[in-house]
Symmetry: C2
Subunit: 485 residues, 2 copies
């Protein structure tokens, strides 16, 4: 089964499996013990730390192994905020960080800290100058910035962030910078200049259960956890030596293969980026087409229920993920797509593991148009190639252009994505050119998808109003002005 | 190499290895994903949760898998204290809990909470009534007890705690009880009545990287960590399904073998408990001889440097651990031995993994007297079988019993365990019956080992005074009155 969800977790690298098997025999004992088995575990741990440091461009004594990338990010955020409290209690991060970082930021605000989210452009990238402008000088009143956070590259759309530039500006401001390198570690060199680096082994083909937190010498850090003598006082509890050994071995292996493999994957992603819009109508490919990770591409399909499409792809043998609201446990669309202001319905993220065959990608591209078409077919939507049928209302408006025409109100309250957009697409033809349709919706995705639909279809998005103004008892009215008949 | 340090970590159980290998193939994907590989990981995770719940006597939906036993204990302590803050900010635990729990208690006191440590008797056991007496009623002023903690059995000396009795008394007082079952889970049934249970997979032959935190329905719990949708909001980050599957498989396997295996190990420990005092002079076997875990026995050898003895045992092929101060990174003796008031020098903990052969134990017993003797030989100590030589000072005192005799002062300041006790043993012969020797020491172990030596050798321990009273510039004077010439 072609697995195209490497950004969630990569299949175990053969080198990792081999190293894990060997280390279960050689490195199972407590590395803190003085007897032979303990000393051997300690030597394996030391070697793994050196390998990891070398690949990530840091020093062995700056690395603590954590139990996950999430733990690395969250310790890095909370430990640095705590250690730099005298600077202030202000945290700066991009709007498209991984949820693990946003959850740590929530803990910070609950405890009375403040946060500035730096917005991204439509490609998902922060502007370095805008990021730097969010940094407050250190002061005694609490508003000083204690930490800035920026991912190396985005986990949903692949866009690479201007880390080197931001690191320079943070250094000028004297603000420590945490770089979440979970998506790029092993695949690409991490730009220098960071104060803290976080990464996750299972993203690079290592086993689950291993994260990396690197803290540069001189960075103030106060552990948010109980402290023991393990991992420089940053990660209490028994050290998982076999998994760490496997993680380090696979990090070295993927890094050695990265250049060749990434060129290959980059070409496959380019193929997807080019072909999907040619073969699937009403689709938006998102993320930066050039400054991106080699292996991730994300697109959204109008009128499509993401969960249904994922189900069709799964039946066809393809494992992908989605940022659509219908596929999340919270029923809200991906905060990344939201921050970018792009379409969220029918969202598909393809992320290719190393070794992906071109034939698998080609088969995906062959099958996709039919699967999307099958999901759309029962909706009875006008084809994008056909002009929308003029309605009687539109005809009436055409005969008396001066006569006031009330907006067409589409009540989709209580109905979830993609229904509001589907209703809009079905009924827009009834609206005269220059006329307005108000879509009433209490679904979070509508706020993103109706403006995105307007942009894709050349209609004018006229803003949001309380649904009550159009007879709704809750939610919002999304106003669309018809540009063309 | 005979591995006798199962209480630190058990070698991987063959069933765990088999399950891990299979689950790396079948359960590597993200169990939160909707595609086939994700669903399969989810099914394996659900099955592992059911197995674990069944063996531990709880419900699957009460179990969260953590990244270690340490994390399970620390989340349990801090989450329950936080969730029960309205009851008060008082924590009760025994003096012999695992260090992971003590570290969490430190975080609590640093944050302004209060702690009562319930002492243990010389066998290492708390008294249930004394434990219950430490519980304060809930009130608004902060002194109410929010959580009580008691281990199922001690990790250093094997003594089983009166958990069922304490659980009943905690329930009467309405105080939640956390039971740290790390040493007994898998080997023995955990008594019911607990509110929270913590355990660690690598102690029962599972892989490192898996702990269990069970929280009974209705127990108030507020996560001290950032919260996501994983593991009931208690453990953020990617779930390590393969390791959890292996942990559950080995838990079931060891539990099935436990009855037969534990009877066998219990007999081997009885053998060690009986033989060591017969063959090694000046040794104290500690812990409860009856109400104990089947596989742990601890003894201490007078005049012996624990690190040197561990080195000798290691060279002879035996892996054991020690609670002596010289073998700890902090250079303080084990808090467990300290709380029990027993000898800490020359301390050896033997903890037998399942499958230990009787021949290995017999070989250990054969070699031990020679190894201890070799460590002691260069010290030129009087043999315990021989009477101590009368000194000229003693003779002088005997001739004039009314004449005031100043105490003999032994300045061992700056010298570490076991030197102060060795000096005392060498020089006690110079002291007349009824005379006093003052041992000056700034070593933490002396405070435990000098009274323990007195008890073992039939001398009278007369208390501790500032070393300054005897001409020392720091540390304490430990006063010993000679009982017999």
């Amino acid at each position: 089964m072609p697995y195209f969800d490497a950004a969630s977790t990569a299949p175990l690298h053969p080198v990792a499996r081999q190293a894990l098997t060997a280390a279960l025999d050689e490195g199972w004992a407590d590395p803190a013990r003085l007897y032979r088995d303990g000393r051997r575990a300690r030597m394996l741990l030391d070697a793994a730390r050196e390998t990891t440091a070398e690949v990530l461009g840091t020093r062995p004594d700056e690395i603590s192994f954590t139990s996950s990338g999430t733990q690395a990010v969250q310790l890095g955020v909370l430990g640095t905020l705590s250690g730099n409290r005298r600077r202030g209690r202000h945290l700066v991060h991009s709007a498209v960080e991984h949820s693990s970082l946003l959850h740590a930021a929530e803990v910070h605000t609950t405890a009375g800290g403040t946060v500035t989210e730096v917005p991204v452009d439509r490609l998902g990238r922060v502007d370095a100058a805008e990021f730097a402008a969010a940094l407050n000088p250190a002061n005694g009143s609490g508003t000083g910035t204690a930490l800035a956070c920026l991912q190396s590259a985005n986990h949903e759309v692949g866009t690479v962030q201007p880390v080197a530039e931001v690191a320079g500006l943070c250094a000028e401001a004297g603000v420590p910078l945490l770089v979440d390198a979970a998506q790029s570690a092993g695949r690409a060199a991490v730009p220098g200049g960071w104060s803290l680096l976080a990464a996750s082994a299972h993203k690079w083909g290592g086993p689950a259960g291993v994260g990396v937190l690197a803290v540069r010498k001189g960075v103030r850090y106060t552990s948010p956890l109980p402290v023991d003598e393990r991992e420089r006082g940053r990660v209490p509890g028994f050290v998982n030596v076999p998994a760490i050994v496997a993680a380090a071995a696979s990090l070295r292996a993927v890094r050695q293969q990265a250049e060749a493999e990434d060129a290959r994957l980059r070409a496959l992603v380019d193929l997807i980026r080019a072909r999907v819009p040619q073969t699937v109508p009403d689709v938006e490919v998102v993320g930066d087409p050039v400054h991106r990770l080699p292996h991730i591409v994300t697109f959204s399909c109008l009128y499509v229920d993401g969960e249904v499409l994922l189900g069709e792809l799964d039946r066809a043998g393809f494992a992908v993920s989605s940022g659509s609201s219908c596929t999340s446990s919270t029923l809200t669309p991906s905060h990344v797509l939201k921050a970018m202001g792009v379409l969220t319905e029918g969202n598909v993220r393809v992320s290719l593991p190393p070794g992906t065959e071109e034939a698998e990608v080609r088969r995906f591209l062959e099958l996709l148009p039919g699967l999307v078409g099958a999901v759309r077919a029962p909706l009875g939507l006008p084809s994008p190639a056909q002009p929308l049928p003029p309605s009687s209302a539109a005809a009436a408006a055409d005969t008396g252009p001066q006569a006031p025409v009330g907006p067409l109100v589409l009540d989709t309250l209580g109905r979830r994505c993609p229904i509001p957009v589907i209703e809009l697409a079905k009924r827009i033809g009834e609206v005269p050119t220059g006329g307005t349709v108000a879509v009433l919706s209490d679904d979070e995705a509508a706020r993103l998808d109706i403006p995105a639909w307007c942009e894709m279809r050349g209609e004018e998005y006229a803003g949001e109003a309380p649904a009550a103004a159009y007879g709704g008892d809750r939610g919002s009215a999304y106003l669309v002005v018809r540009r063309s008949g």
